[in-house]
């Protein structure tokens, strides 16, 4: 069971979190300007690397914040957690 660091609450067991897939998939500003292939790329295509990946996690059984985790898909080592946007918290 992974030990995940919530940037707001600290290290907690994996069971407190839910998974949100690959991080850094930015929603296009104007989806209507995209052709089908470009939209499908945003919608479905993910990197699935053998190694380091940045992904979304939600502290669903805790503070309910979404944040990013950099994790190795082979060793499951976690390099660190990060907030998803720069600047001050709301």
């Amino acid at each position: 069971m992974l030990l995940i660091e919530c940037p707001w609450c600290g290290q907690r067991a994996e069971t407190e979190f839910s998974y949100g897939g690959e991080a850094g998939i930015t929603r296009p500003i104007d989806p209507s300007a995209l052709d089908d292939a470009e939209w499908a790329d945003y919608l479905y295509m993910r990197n699935n690397p053998c190694g380091s990946i940045k992904e979304l996690w939600n502290h669903s059984q805790g503070c309910r914040r979404w944040f990013g985790v950099e994790r190795d898909t082979v060793s499951y080592k976690i390099a660190g957690s990060f907030k998803l946007y720069a600047g001050e918290e709301k």
């Binding site: 067991a13 989806p31 919608l43 309910r64 499951y76």
Partner: protein
Amino acid sequence: MQKNRLQSGGRIDRTQVLNFRFNGRAYQGCAGDTLASALLANGVYLIGRSFKLHRPRGIVGSGAEEPNAIVQIGSGAATLPNQCATQVLLYEGLDANSLRGWPSVQFDVGSITNWFSRFLAAGFYYKTFMAPRKLWSFYEKLIRDSAGWGHAPTKADPDFYEHRNAHCDVLIAGAGPAGLMAALAAANSGARVIIADEQSEFGGRLLSQTDEIDSMAATDWVAQAINTLAQHENVRMLPRSTVFGYFDHNFVTIAEHCTDHLGAHKHTTVRERLWRVRARQVILAQGAFERPLVFCNNDRPGVMLASAVSTYVNRYGVCPGREVVVFANNDSAYRCALDLDAAGASVKAVIDSRATGAGDLQQEVEALGITVMTGHVVTNTLGSQQIRAVQIAKFSIEGTVPATLPAQDLVTIQCDLLAMSGGWSPAVHLHSQSGGRITWSEELHCFVPDGTTQNCVSAGAGNGAWELHDCLRQGLEAGKAAIEYCGLEISDLAEPKTEGIETNSLQPLWRVPAVKAPDRCPKQFLDFQNDTSVADVRLAVREGYRNVEHVKRYTALGFGTDQGKLGNINGMAVLAEYLGEPIANVGTTTFRPAYTPTSFGTCAGETVGQLFDPVRKTAIHEWHEAAGAKFETVGQWLRPWYFPDGDEDLDAAVKRECLATRRSVGIMDASTLGKIDVQGPDAVKFLERIYTHDVGKMKVGRCAYGIMLGEDGMLKDDGVMARLGEQHFYLTTTTGGAASVMSWLELWLQTEWPDLDVYLTSVTDHYSTISVAGPTSRQLLQAIDCDTSLDAADFPFMSTQTATLCNLPVRLFRVSFSGELAFEINVASDHALTLWCALMDAGKNFDITPYGTESMHVLRAEKGFVIVGQDTDGSVTPTDLHMSWMLASDKDFLGKRSLRRPDALRADRKQWVGLIPADKTTVIAEGTQLIEDTAARAPVPMCGHISSSYDSPTLGHPIALALLKGGLERAGEKVYASLANGKAVPMTVTSPVFYDPQGERQRD
């Protein structure tokens, strides 16, 4: 009479006699015995029959590695199957039985399979399963009747189990010399230490040997160490606790056996405890398993591991034989000869395959007058249900192991016990589970840990350190390193003094040749529990198997309760020989949790029965119960399903509830609806992007039916949303979708649009929702002191306002999920029951009828309202549901772009229709597939499926809702519902709205 019990010595208490039964016969043992040591003390050698061939089998080992002595303990609901006699602690009244052997283990009918065991060679099951099928039924009967493992109890387990979470700086698995030394090194630093050992006592091998540490008996040193550790509050000692799983990020599971050793108890305390430990450092000190030697008939009762024999002599005061032969390829078994001699047994000979013999220990053995035959091997055993003699042959390895041994050289030695040692294999299981690599050591001839991926270190025999001083030193170093890692002060504890001896290195000997080839000679067993022999592995290789994982499955090598703890390494080495490859290339099979069998009770812990899953009840639940409601589970919620009047069944109750609601007024507890409060300056901006309709145009006090889509354009959830203020909205979600919608909204708000100033609050539990529906619902509310006008002009359909009812503050919504004039009342949950009772009381004059979820479903189906998750499945677009009118054209919203993807525009998409059976009587089961052509040949093309189906009380005939290919354009056409019995029912395609299509009643 315990005929094999020694007069003195051992760690048992001879004054505490314990009575027990085995296979129905009464025996006596002593406090401190295991079932295995007590059976051996009583001279019971035949413990059971083997799995496949029903050969007589006895005790081989003394711990978790035991493959044969697997028994059933007790009877009834608390019976324990597949218990290892070497690990079962004896208690007064213990009742154990062999797993196999019919009518008895002494005379087993199944052993006739021995006669045609050639037909039960490797892959027998696979080959027989394949063809011919007729033959299988014959074998199946034979095999299933006589084989099989223990019996699972048929009643619920009466015992208690618990889970406990723990954190520590250092977790030590194993309390032998290395583990204890590591614990001592860590204890002084103040580190939080957990040390667990599967045995009832700490000490490991030190309890079984006669070594000295720091000039005292090793057992005294153990007692001193335990005493020292006990004085540290920061050290938790867990005996009878198996570290059985090593997971990610140093998460380790331990099964603590709390009460089994106390005997038949009253099930009042925790039987087993699962420790879930997150450790900063893990020290793996689980020791090593002695390997059997592989020769003909090496499975005969009375053939035991040399170290196990020493354990029974030194720890349990039991001498398992009178006339003993020791057979080894290494020095350690010579200790067994010394122990047996000291116990008064006659050691007939030590047979050493090595021409060189042993080091210092050989002189010690010979000084006692014991014959040592170097350059010899045991090639066969004689006897029936117990060993009677061994056959010895000269042996030498010149380049390779000879294929056969010359028959004329055989010497027979009479004996009643053969103690064997083929060397040692570190217990690398946990290291391997942690993700650590293992490599084959050409020097030690075993797999050793090599490189870790987590914060753990192996020490002692588990790390290939055989000698006591090496174990102590590695334990000390591991303890100190762990403390250093934790940033704590390292103690100046010194390594204890032990006497070293000179040893000769082990001679690899993976199988002893026989006088005939492996498939012509008596069986040479590799895996006792699965009856896997050298001939089986050879056959597998001949049939083309190369990969160790495939050979495992073909020959069953390494399966079973012991998971090949004894047999695996020999099996892999023999496989390597037949493949002509080095052992390092063949490798091992994968080590997976659990290290030893772990009970379902331990895994489940407290989460059984009512604690299996949380149950959510509404604030009005107790009224429903008192009214005799039948409940159904919706997510974690318990909701009234229907309210039977007397002995009404579901259909009768639903008919009555629906008709009353259409005629006068029905009342329903809708509190489980998901409710989200949305506030903030950017609330409109945010909700415009979430919902498909025009949120900004909504006036304060207005409600709207809203749908949200996934980015793939598929319907995700729906519900009524209301504008309570300029910057204040109230959303409802489906009961099941409440949590996921909340998380979905937060995802967008937090990750994609953090610039939006919006706040979300779940208010599902704060407000209870009571729905009153029916033509007289307005009068009902007026009858309980409503302080505002409810007339359609003042309070139109799809609007909301605050009010007081019965002096209780409420919020009213004029929305309808039944098609009738209806009001949804939100009231603080504390007041919900009061309000409900007041409505029921006043409702007597209006024929008020409470209804449950089933009537709610029927009423909405008559009206053609969709239920997300029942009528949709994540592949349905708003267009498929006739909801194109809800898609605002002048703004973007989640999923909008996907509605233009080619797949969303396909003409043959499954779309939402109503269906009425042509005979107007048949109710079709939900999930039934629709077909176009009853004459089509199988596989018949399917054109849709029925998602909702009821016998409509209002219309007086069955109705169904369905997703039908191209359904939007097919009103009036005919399709067929294909029933499970092969019949096809003609159905007429209609609009999904069966009742009041103009919506006049709800707007009233």
